[in-house]
């Protein structure tokens, strides 16, 4: 199944009459990492949720190369604040596999493999809720990656993490990119954007102000607002 190209036309989501994001026009191709940037409250999270199908599309269209249902099942989402199932680390990892009917033994094998990849192999039997913030985010990332999604959304995945945990998460993301997983992540960490981005979406007040290749965006941003944002000014 092929997800991309993704075509977004006039997409908008509103809540109680207030436009949270949109109208957005967007064309995304099928490789690399798209980094969504913008100040707090610019609608990064909502845009990701909208593309993922977790926020209501009130106007416009979002078209994948396949059906919406097929597209949704080939995606995974990592939240800014990781949601831990009240189960052990191992059971958190096997949960999405068991949902789609993977046998217990295969699921267990894959879970152990992924736990090792994110450095949680010593904690398989610990309750997920007692892990530290960094460990929880790594677990959430592994749990999202374990179903081998074609497209992974990450909403500020390292916002609450220290340098070391951030480096570990980024290593997993780089490996995912190398194996062909499409990433769409939001961040307001400029350094992270420079390290990971192939292309950048610059968002302000729920509108996409810029959509360009990463190198071009960082070297010669087209809009005043993006220039100010990159300088570190407060953009309103």
């Amino acid at each position: 199944m092929i997800l991309f190209p993704l075509t977004v036309r006039g997409a908008q989501t509103t809540r109680r009459g207030k436009v949270l994001v949109g109208p957005v026009d967007l064309d995304l191709a099928g490789v690399g990492a798209t980094v969504v940037m913008g100040p707090n409250g610019s609608g990064k999270t909502t845009l990701l949720r909208l593309l993922h199908g977790a926020a209501r599309l009130t106007h416009g269209r979002i078209d994948w190369a396949c059906t919406q249902a097929e597209a949704h099942s080939a995606q995974a989402f990592v939240f800014q604040r990781p949601v831990m199932l009240r189960r052990s680390v191992l059971e958190n990892l096997t949960y999405p596999l068991r949902l789609c009917g993977t046998s217990r033994s295969v699921a267990q094998f894959m879970a152990e493999d992924w736990a090792a990849r994110v450095g949680l192999d010593a904690m398989l039997d610990r309750p997920a809720t007692v892990l530290s913030g960094g460990e929880q985010q790594k677990l959430a990332l592994a749990r999202a990656m374990i179903i081998e999604p074609q497209l992974l959304f990450l909403d500020e995945p390292t916002a609450a993490l220290d340098g070391r945990a951030t480096r570990e998460v980024e290593a997993v993301l780089r490996a995912a990119l190398a194996s062909g997983t499409r990433l769409i992540l939001s961040t307001h960490d400029l350094g992270q954007a420079r390290r990971l981005a192939d292309e950048v979406l610059f968002l302000l007040h729920g509108q996409v102000l810029e959509h360009s290749a990463a190198r071009k965006f960082f070297e010669a941003p087209a809009t005043l607002q993006a220039r100010a944002f990159l300088r570190g000014d407060i953009v309103e």
Binding site: V83, L85, R86, T129
Partner: protein, 234 residues
């Protein structure tokens, strides 16, 4: 005070001698209440989870009614079940009136709203925590319900124990539909009511202490089996 002491020593005597009547009605109490608890939980817990995950038009009203029904007067439930099961009632042909089955039916009706309401509170909180994740994972309605029921099992145990407490101490409904027939439908609570009416306070109190001891023992056993208050926060 004298009556209380007499009651205590009577309870002690009944227990030590393993009085055959006492054993019989205690076992019946347990049988009726535990059966009602199992059936009630099987109905109430999935219902509570369903109400937590499913948005439908009358959801709020259903929850409000369920909460209100926690205070359902047992005597009225007993009366209603009696009318339904009596020979001239719609279920009269089943011949269930004045049997332990009738008592179980009445107790199920009494405890389902209680268990469902208490369970719904904790399932609703868990659902708000899990909502985004499970929606993102494309989880079906029944998978959602199963996930919530499993992950909230400790809290649900508390809900069920509340139901057990209500059922084991209940007298009004089972007196009406069971009839307090010796060797057939007599249980601890109805026996206490009977002995009190007959003026045998020592025996009534003795049975009362046995009842309290039974309730505490069952609670402790279930807690111990469920290993509550161990293994982390939940």
């Amino acid at each position: 005070m004298g009556d209380l002491w007499a009651g205590l020593s009577e309870a002690f005597r009944l227990l030590v001698t393993l009085d055959s009547d006492l054993v019989e009605i205690t076992l019946r109490s347990l049988q009726v209440t535990l059966t009602a608890l199992a059936i009630g939980s099987a109905i109430a817990l999935p219902l509570a989870a369903f109400l937590a995950v499913r948005r439908f038009r009358w959801r709020r009203s259903v929850i409000a009614v369920l909460n209100a029904l926690m205070g359902l007067p047992p005597v009225v439930v007993g009366l209603a079940v009696y009318v339904l099961l009596s020979r001239s009632g719609p279920f009269g042909v089943l011949g269930l009136l004045f049997t332990p089955s009738a008592m179980i039916i009445a107790q199920v009706i009494i405890i389902v709203p209680l268990i469902a309401s208490v369970a719904h509170q904790s399932l609703r909180d868990l659902w708000s925590e899990y909502h985004d994740l499970l929606i993102s994972m494309n989880v079906t309605q029944s998978q959602k319900i199963r996930t919530l029921l499993w992950d909230a099992r400790r809290a649900l145990l508390t809900a069920s124990l509340a139901g057990f407490g209500r059922a084991i101490g209940e007298v009004g409904a089972i007196m009406i539909v069971g009839g307090n027939i010796e060797h057939a439908t007599r249980v601890l609570t109805t026996a206490i009511a009977l002995e009190t009416g007959r003026g045998d306070f020592a025996l009534a109190l003795g049975l009362g202490f046995v009842l309290i001891g039974l309730a505490i023992t069952v609670n402790l056993c279930i807690h111990w089996l469920g290993r509550t208050e161990q293994e982390g926060r939940w």
